[in-house]
Amino acid sequence: MGFFLETVFGGLMAGMLYALVALGFVLIFKASGVFNFAQGAMVLFAALAMARFSEWFPQWFGFESLILANLLALIASVACMIVVAWLVERLALRGLVNQPAITLLMATLGISYFLDGAGQLLFGSATYKIDVGLPKDPMFVLENTFPGGLLLNKEDLYSALIAALLVATLTLFFQKTRTGRALRAVADDHQAAQSIGIPLARIWVIVWAVGGVVALVAGIIWGSKLGVQFSISMVALKAFPVVILGGLTSVPGAIVGGLIIGVGEKLSEIYLGPTVGGGIENWFAYVLALGFLLVRPQGLFGDKIIDRV
């Protein structure tokens, strides 16, 4: 029982981390109709910026404080992501107004290649470290109830908290503001949105910048866990089933999807894996998402797919 709970809990925590990356996808999709394959690259880029700036600033300005270094690096990284957003709009999206979703998707793949290259060129391709003081050691709770206690991971706990906070903010933003509505309009029909005076350029810069900041948060958390290196862009692969399951257009869906996928894959790996040789959690996540989709083709909380003549 204790082990089962541990597994579930581990899954929930992992799911929260996936959700954090998934959130970036949802945000950009919901607000511009672009399925942003570059999200992984943005996570990498942001994390690299954060890691390197926090390493460079103390060298450049000759101070030692870790907190100050992190703070300055954070500001610089946010600035970086805003610049990225601006460039993306200027150089890519602007020329692709009113194109079909698949073209936009491909463009983001191009962007992702570009960011991968640029990030590593600017910041290096070795492993770097982000240390924002997240605790690493295990924590055991309920030691009286279960022999050996329940293993919890403080780092994950903190990360989950941050993710939850971010989601709440974004949900509010979408539901309650005029801009939120405009964003959804843009996603539906670029041209019509233009025709009634929604400034696509500004909207896209905003959305991508927010997407960039979300990527930064994800990058910091994953980076402090794994070290910052090219591979970190692959956490995006873990986020796909999450977004799809939660529904491409739903912010809370990212969280719920994350939790389901997190728990689902851990349980499957631990209880099913050994019988078939293990290593199944990756595809199991997708199969899980697929199963849900067969029941609800638009994902759990996604907008209903419109099907009318």
Binding site: F3, G11, S125, T127, Y128, F230, M234, I270, G279
Partner: protein
Amino acid sequence: ANEQFIPLLVYRTGQFAPLGIPWGDGKQDYLKLINARDGGVNGVKLAFEECETAYDAAKGVECYERLKTKGGGASGFDTQSTGITFAVTDKAFVDKVVVETPGYGLSASADGSVFEWNFPLLGTYWTAADVMLQDIAKKEGGSLKGKKIALVYHDSPYGKEPIALLQRRSAAEGFEVQLYPVTPPGVEQKSVWLQIRQARPDYVLFWSAGVMTPAGIREAQASGFPREKMYAIWWAGSDHDVKDIGAGAKGYNAITLHNSSARDRVHEDLKKFVYDKGQGTGAATEIGALAHTRGMMIAMLQVEAIRAAQEKYGKGKVMTPEQVRWGFENLNLTADKLKALGFGEVMRPVQTSCSNHMGTDWARIVQWDGAKWNLASDWYQSDKTHIDPMVKEAAAKYAKDKNLKPRSCS
């Protein structure tokens, strides 16, 4: 031109770049050193060209095709990747160029009678696993009986190589093997380590690469598995793998082909003849890092093969790939020779032959103390009773599949 061409397949980008960069730097640095210090091999300058594979087999094949005939024929490919090795091995038979895979590649290719063109010098994953088991047995008072040993591995041919050996030895010695595949890239390993927490193996052998390594160590830390009970393969035991985790990785063991922390004359020469002149490939701080030293060592083996070939086929001449192959097959680096080369502290003697393309399989364990690697064991050599028949079997199967007629080595 009087130049011997050496192709350098590297990966400076992608998932495995942190390992690939110092490795590639080391290879290039050593060649530069030979040119700068000795004016080449008996006057034959070494020419080289890098080709980026990004650890991708198809790209590796392209690099191989591009470079194999360059400069009168390539003097041997260190592909730096198991996948690329697989992809080019068959071609190498036809093209007649050497594939040298120190510490990786096909374990079976140690059999030179079948694998004429492959040289898994200094060790394979079978010898590595064997040495790890020996060290564990030593700690456990000589016997592994009744022990539980887990293998957490990168779910690819690279990670799977040791399984065959582990299973064979477990059958013979009565310990239990638990297998935990990790799907690449391995960013999320919670379920594996939860399973380990439950199954409570006595030791974990860690066949990891890239981001899987820090992720695994972190997860071990988070789930409270003692790092002292972890044994990593040499590709997961470099400085960059543990540096950022620092104290969190304290106690983590890794096997190594060479005395990693040793600083030998070659390092000084490199600094003096190359880096001080501003010719260094990487950052000077990298000199002495595990992966960098390993790169230099691999380049040194290649250079020595060329030198050996020259002794037979004519000093001061450019060797053809076939002549270089002979050199690889007739390496004899004695302790004295190594010392003269500046590698005396770094590694043990190597001698290859027609039937033995591995040369030697000395290895030892190092341990991370939170800030640096320390030697944690003496040198071991693998136990041939299991490995030799396995190599023979696998090589024979390969020969049969490929319609190859093994040469006779006697």
